[in-house]
């Protein structure tokens, strides 16, 4: 059985549904990417799972961790899961740390909470964690405030804080989006290393398929509150099936093809208030037929074990795009 299993998770705000029945399994030690444009519900899925959404959010469905149901569980039970079993790091590291508290104190708070460490022992462990995530001279910097660190270092501290609870699963919600490219690569490396060393599972939320491929074994592509395709990373890159996945891959710059113009996906993500009746991607899809605008495709298991929700899966599209690129050269 999967370690974390999400079934038919639905979320709505003020009557507007933003998550339309998410199903996802995370195995022990597995790294899964969750990919899609802003507003497609990647973060909401996990904020809902941990009851971190504002009170007005209506949540239904099921999220189980080792069989324990989280949706509708009482506050104290959720608090025991947060940080201890499932930890989360966020997009904007600088504002995700409490600005008026020393970073060491913030890490020690997690150590006290989840491992009962206090005083000098907590401090020593906090310094060890800061060293582990690559903060130079942690012994002296443990007493500094968040604004005295760079964005990348703040994200490292966030990771140290998440590791303090020795979680089984780390949710990394766009952890590198606010950071510049070189720092981004360092943080990705750090996450991979830590996962290897601790054996914890990871969900990596990003709009950047490239970043996801660097740290994940498997990825699920989300669009307008649904998973539209999921597969092993290698299979997903080699043979994307959903036209949206194809579009995302085309938007990654390639080093071996010189001066190729990137192919944007035309149009924008639909407003959750006015979703199309058929496939939500149909208005932007170049291969949509009448059928796509009236009926919703279900997420179905494919022969190669991937999952896909599309009436007209791509197969040839990728090669066609490549031909277009070659013409540009």
């Amino acid at each position: 059985m999967a370690f974390v299993s999400i079934r038919d998770l639905k979320v709505s705000f003020d009557g507007v549904q933003v998550l339309h029945g998410i199903g996802l399994d995370i195995g022990r030690g597995e790294a899964v990417g969750l990919v899609g444009e802003s507003g497609c519900g990647k973060s909401v899925t996990w904020l809902a799972a941990l009851s971190l959404l504002p009170a007005k959010a209506r949540i239904s469905g099921s999220v189980r961790i080792d069989g324990q149901e989280l949706i509708g569980a009482p506050g104290p039970e959720i608090e025991k899961v947060r940080g201890a079993r499932i930890a989360m790091i966020f997009q904007d590291p600088s504002s995700s740390l409490n600005p008026v508290q020393r970073v060491g104190k913030q890490i020690m708070e997690s150590l006290r909470l989840h491992r009962g460490l206090k005083g000098a022992m907590a401090r020593t462990e906090a310094i060890r964690l800061m060293n582990m995530v690559g903060i130079p001279s942690a012994e002296t910097r443990v007493d500094l405030y968040p604004h005295e660190f760079s964005g990348g270092q703040c994200q490292r501290i966030m990771i140290a804080m998440a590791l303090a609870g020795q979680p089984d699963l780390l949710i990394a919600d766009e952890p590198t989006t606010a950071l510049d490219a070189t720092i981004q690569a360092q943080i990705l490396d750090l996450l991979s290393t830590i996962r290897r060393e601790t054996g914890m599972a990871m969900v990596f939320i990003s709009h950047d398929l490239g970043a996801v491929s660097a740290v994940c074994d498997r990825a699920a592509v989300m669009y307008a509150g649904k998973i539209v395709e999921s597969n092993e990373i290698t299979a997903l890159f080699a043979a994307p099936r959903h036209p949206y996945t194809v579009g995302l891959l085309d938007a990654i710059p390639e080093l071996d093809v010189t001066r190729a113009r990137l192919q944007p996906i035309k149009g924008t993500v639909p407003d959750p208030k006015y979703l199309p009746t058929g496939c939500a991607f149909a208005p932007r899809c170049t291969h949509a037929t009448d059928f796509c605008t009236t009926d919703q495709p279900e997420l179905k298991r494919q022969p190669d074990s991937g999952l896909l929700a599309c009436f007209h899966p791509a197969g040839r599209y990728k090669t066609e795009t490549l031909t277009r690129r070659e013409e540009l050269v």
């Binding site: 940080g83 989360m88 995700s96 409490n98 909470l113 405030y145």
Partner: protein, 309 residues
């Protein structure tokens, strides 16, 4: 830190000199003390003697320089009316004013802040709406109206409390209540919005994702951050403690600083008015300085900005 305080002190002295200059000019423009103090029917030679005695015949610039020089030697002049040192007259009134403004301040903070924080934590609830409604009522009702309504109910109708004077502690109750109502409303509204702002910050989500109980999230992460803007408002209130309450003191015949302002302005008692303004401005400036220091203690970002200067 020391540098910071010294530069602030220098600025404070500048502020005080500007306040004093302004007071000097306005008082000279707004009427002749001789005719007001001696009456419109006073004989000309009495008026001339009075003007000579207080140096009112000198050219304005000469009077001004003499006045500023006096202040820097801590000589605040003599009251034209009582022939006593102006500073003594002012200082004598301060305890009475503090006797009502201090308890009022405690009520403002003690009721206003918890009410605002509670409302923010229970947003959109009946309690929240109640706090908003009451606070709007509190700070929109003019103090003279509230004072008269309170007198009407508690003195005239029920006969529970005296309507004026300073003979017992019961006399202080109505002035204190009148003074605190508006402040409680402002404090509640301000604390509510400060707290709502903080609760929407990403670090609150981090604290929750960490596994802290809601109680710890509020006490350890939300309140320390919300206290920064709240301290600003507290600073204003501390600064206004001595300036007191001209209207409320007048209505309840409370012999404090506020009433002294009204009577000495009416009498054109120049030295007393100027001394009052200096004392009030000093307390405001001191309160601001305290707020600035408190900022540094509460928010490390401001502290390092200062040491960088």
């Amino acid at each position: 830190m020391l540098n910071f305080i010294l530069s602030r002190m220098a600025r404070a002295v500048m502020t005080l000199v500007m306040v004093m200059s302004f007071a000097f000019i306005v008082m000279r423009l707004s009427g002749d003390p001789a005719t007001i103090l001696l009456g419109p029917d006073a004989p000309q030679d009495a008026i001339d003697a009075f003007r000579a005695r207080w140096g009112l015949d000198d050219p304005l610039w000469k009077q001004y320089l003499a006045y500023i020089a006096q202040i820097f030697t801590f000589d605040f002049g003599i009251s034209m009316r009582d022939q006593m040192p102006a500073l003594d007259i002012v200082l004598e009134r301060i305890p009475a004013t503090l006797a009502i403004t201090l308890p009022a301040m405690i009520l403002k903070l003690g009721i206003g802040i918890p009410a605002g924080v509670y409302a923010a934590l229970h947003r959109e609830s009946i309690a929240d709406r109640g706090v908003i409604t009451l606070s709007i009522f509190g700070f929109t009702i003019p103090s003279f109206v509230l004072a008269l309504v309170l007198v009407l109910i508690f003195s005239v109708q029920l006969g529970w409390l005296p309507s004026g004077g300073q003979d017992s502690w019961q006399h202080a109750i109505l002035p204190i209540v009148t003074l605190s109502v508006g402040g409680i409303g402002i404090m509640a509204r301000f604390s509510r919005s400060a707290m709502i702002e903080v609760l929407g910050q990403p670090y609150i989500r981090t604290a929750m994702a960490k596994g802290l109980s809601w109680r710890d999230v509020v006490w350890k992460h939300a309140l320390p951050n919300a206290s920064v803007p709240i301290v600003t408002l507290v600073g204003f209130m501390v600064g206004a403690l001595i300036a007191g309450a001209a209207v409320v003191e007048s209505i309840f015949s409370w012999p404090g600083v506020g009433r002294l302002i009204v009577s000495s302005v009416a009498n054109r008692d120049l030295a007393v008015v100027q001394c009052l303004l200096l004392v009030i401005a000093s307390s405001m400036v001191a309160a601001n300085l305290l707020v600035d220091i408190a900022y540094g203690l509460l928010d490390p970002r401001l502290r390092s900005k200062r040491s960088a200067h």
